[in-house]
């Protein structure tokens, strides 16, 4: 079984009637993801790509009691409420596509989720894909192929390029997880590394971090405990200080969050550092000592 999502999970889409959400609902369905319902307040009775729309998550789960995963596509000012609603209704995994959620909102939602043992991924995640099984989010399916390498990254496009370079080298992904570009994340590198470590469909992990925050540094000590190799690719070496680079979380604040500090920490605990995207597949193959696909 793949981590986080698999081909047997049932999922719902919050904010399903929005343009992006509707488009990607289509893509997800095409990929085979089991979307059972959508939620947009005030729009009960409508359909999106044949999926029924409900006013509340509670109403939706009343009709589809097996849904355990939700993706959240609502505008940032409604994201906190959408997450809290999902938790209240009994959703177990919440994949938050919405970007630029106010920091205090996300801290609060994260706190509630943690108290109740709920997994939040994101905000500003491109989503999660277990190639050939299920896709939740807006990752382009063309960038991924089934395989035995787990990948985890902060950024969406980097997630695609990492998988792309693995695929071009004949490797594939067990699951690819986008943590998200926002500064406060529901799930961080260490959480996902732990999942991959215990996943028997994964042989090695590629983690792609970027400037800002301390999630990479925090994960470093766990890498030493892992039985599986970790290849790390950190971006932002050329980044200026004190300026957000697109992602709300991608900023060097004072001495915190530089690419150098992350690389030093990861290397210290045994991660193999890739300087470029193109180095990644070579390092994976070298560390596994064999050709895997």
């Amino acid at each position: 079984m793949a981590i986080i999502i698999d081909n047997n999970i049932e999922t719902i889409v919050q904010g399903v009637t929005g343009t992006n959400a509707a488009l990607h609902t289509k893509f997800m369905l095409e990929y085979g993801t089991k979307i059972v319902g959508g939620v947009t307040p005030g729009k009960v009775g409508q359909e999106v790509e044949g999926i029924p729309v409900y006013d509340t998550v509670m109403d939706c789960l009343a009709e589809h009691p097996n849904a355990t995963v939700s993706s959240v596509w609502v505008p940032p000012r409604f994201a906190k409420d959408a997450i809290l609603e999902a938790i209240d209704a009994g959703i177990k995994t919440i994949i938050v596509i919405t970007e630029r959620i106010p920091v205090h909102d996300m801290l609060y939602a994260r706190c509630v989720a943690q108290e109740k043992g709920i997994m939040i991924i994101g905000g500003n995640t491109p989503g999660v894909i277990s190639p050939g099984k299920a896709l939740i989010g807006m990752l382009p399916k063309i960038a991924f192929q089934p395989g035995r390498i787990g990948t985890v990254a902060r950024s969406g496009a980097v997630t695609y390029y990492v998988a792309n370079s693995l695929n071009l080298a004949g490797l594939g992904e067990s699951t690819s997880v986008g943590l998200g570009g926002d500064p406060i994340l529901g799930t961080n590198f260490e959480d996902v590394l732990r999942l991959f470590e215990h996943d028997d469909e994964t042989d090695a992990v590629v983690m792609a971090g970027e400037i800002g925050g301390v999630y990479e540094e925090l994960a470093a000590p766990y890498i030493k405990e892992m039985s599986k190799p970790v290849i790390a690719y950190i971006t932002g070496k050329a980044a200026p200080q004190g300026k957000r680079l697109g992602h709300a979380g991608a900023i060097i604040e004072g001495k915190m969050g530089t690419a150098a500090s992350k690389i030093i920490a990861l290397e210290k605990y045994g991660a193999l550092i890739a300087q470029t995207l193109s180095e990644i597949p070579g390092l994976v193959k070298k560390t596994l000592g064999r050709d895997v696909s």
Partner: protein, 395 residues
């Protein structure tokens, strides 16, 4: 988003936190100096630690001295930025310097109130040299602060008698300001006890969450608008901001036109790694409109420093055909002469390729220096080629 000291103190004053009486002076408001009581402190408004050591904080005992020192400071360059304003405050006679801050603890994902009896120095220093001097109080996100909790904090600073209650009010006020304005940091360093036993926030550091500013329309009244986390925007950055495009000027010659913020960061790294120099960071965001894509291209091509453009589109949320259409339209309308080396892959790649091929066949002369590679061309090869193109242009 880091505020200037004078902006932070305006918020403090609005919330009733005690700041010394003072005025803000720029080149056009010297007359404000008439309102101050001497002696005064003159503080250059710049984002810099250790302003005292850099001569950015000065003292004056009368109007003449103040005028001279102010006109000396205004217009100075400091760490890349011009000093446009000074804050002139009545000088407080200090009996004691303390430290008080409310921040987000990024490890614990909780709020953290920090205090120290060693104020007026960098708190990171205190944390390293005498960590026991640093008292910490955690609160859960979103939670209100009980007065007793604030009293505990004030009592931990060993404020007592009437100062205990003043300190309690100050802690309550600072915490509520932190929560009420969606702050990432609200810090007073030093918090001073004056010789007449009053508390003053002598310096004030506030770091706002730009993504929550829509909740605080009163910031506009105080003259506080969105900008860089630290520092002002350049002209191009301002244009980009208005158009909703994350854009940061860098000092190189390769214009970067990526899709997605994360790969934008990777791209400037890779350009540097292969010996080139990026002219900018840019992010097209989730699913950019064609108009936005054209504005982005314009920002790069109109920049005289830019010699060549590196472009990349991995069609995910966004579609290759939309991207191709925008590129073609821009090229046809603006006939850029700089080389553009790009790669397009992902959703609707085939349709996108047709659009470009057709345009090339009609307007071959506009596309002489433009290349659009496909899925099978590794992205780093595209970068290397762009670097070569830029070098050729310079010769």
């Amino acid at each position: 988003m880091r505020l200037y000291e004078y902006e932070a103190k305006r918020i403090f004053a609005r919330r009733g936190l005690p700041v010394p009486p003072g005025v803000v002076i720029d080149r056009n408001s010297y007359q404000n100096l008439d309102k101050v009581i001497y002696p005064v402190v003159i503080k250059a408004q710049a984002f810099a630690g250790g302003r005292g050591k850099s001569g950015l904080i000065q003292f004056a005992s009368d109007h003449t001295e103040a005028l001279e020192k102010i006109s000396n400071l205004l217009g100075q360059e400091h760490a890349g930025y011009t000093i446009d304003r000074v804050l002139v405050e009545q000088k407080i006679t200090i009996k004691q310097e303390l430290y008080l801050a409310v921040i987000i603890d990024r490890l614990e994902h909780r709020y953290l109130i920090m205090t120290s009896r060693q104020g007026g120095v960098e708190i990171e220093e205190v944390a390293q040299t005498s960590p026991q001097a640093l008292l910490k109080y955690h609160l859960n996100p979103g939670s209100v602060i009980a007065p007793f909790m604030a009293r505990k904090v004030a009592s931990g600073l060993r404020l007592n008698g009437p100062l205990l209650n003043a300190g309690t009010e100050l802690v309550l006020g600072l915490y509520r300001l932190f929560l009420g304005y969606d702050c990432k940091v609200a810090e007073i360093n030093p918090l001073v006890v004056s010789d007449d036993d009053r508390l003053f926030a002598l310096d004030a550091k506030v770091d706002l969450d730009e993504d929550a500013m829509y909740r605080h329309p009163d910031l506009k009244e105080l003259g506080i608008t969105a900008r860089h986390e630290v520092g002002e925007l350049t002209e191009r950055e301002r244009i980009a901001k208005r158009a909703g495009i994350p854009y940061v000027d860098l000092d190189g010659d390769i214009g970067v036109f990526p899709g997605g913020a994360g790969f934008g960061i990777a791209a400037i790294d890779l350009i540097q790694h292969y010996g080139g120099r990026p002219a900018n960071f840019m992010d097209s965001g989730g699913a950019p409109t064609q108009e936005k894509l054209r504005t982005m291209l314009g920002l790069l091509l109109d920049n005289p420093r830019v010699k060549a453009i590196f472009g990349a589109r991995f069609g995910g949320i966004s579609r290759c055909d939309d991207w191709a259409r925008a590129v073609v339209q821009y090229v046809v309308e603006n006939r850029p002469t700089k080389p553009m080396i790009m790669r397009m892959a992902g959703n609707m790649e085939e349709q996108g390729r047709k659009i470009i091929e057709q345009a090339k066949s009609v307007h071959a002369e506009f596309f002489k220096k433009i290349k659009v590679y496909a899925y099978d061309m590794p992205i780093e090869e595209v970068i290397k080629e762009t670097i070569r193109a830029a070098q050729e242009e310079k010769q």
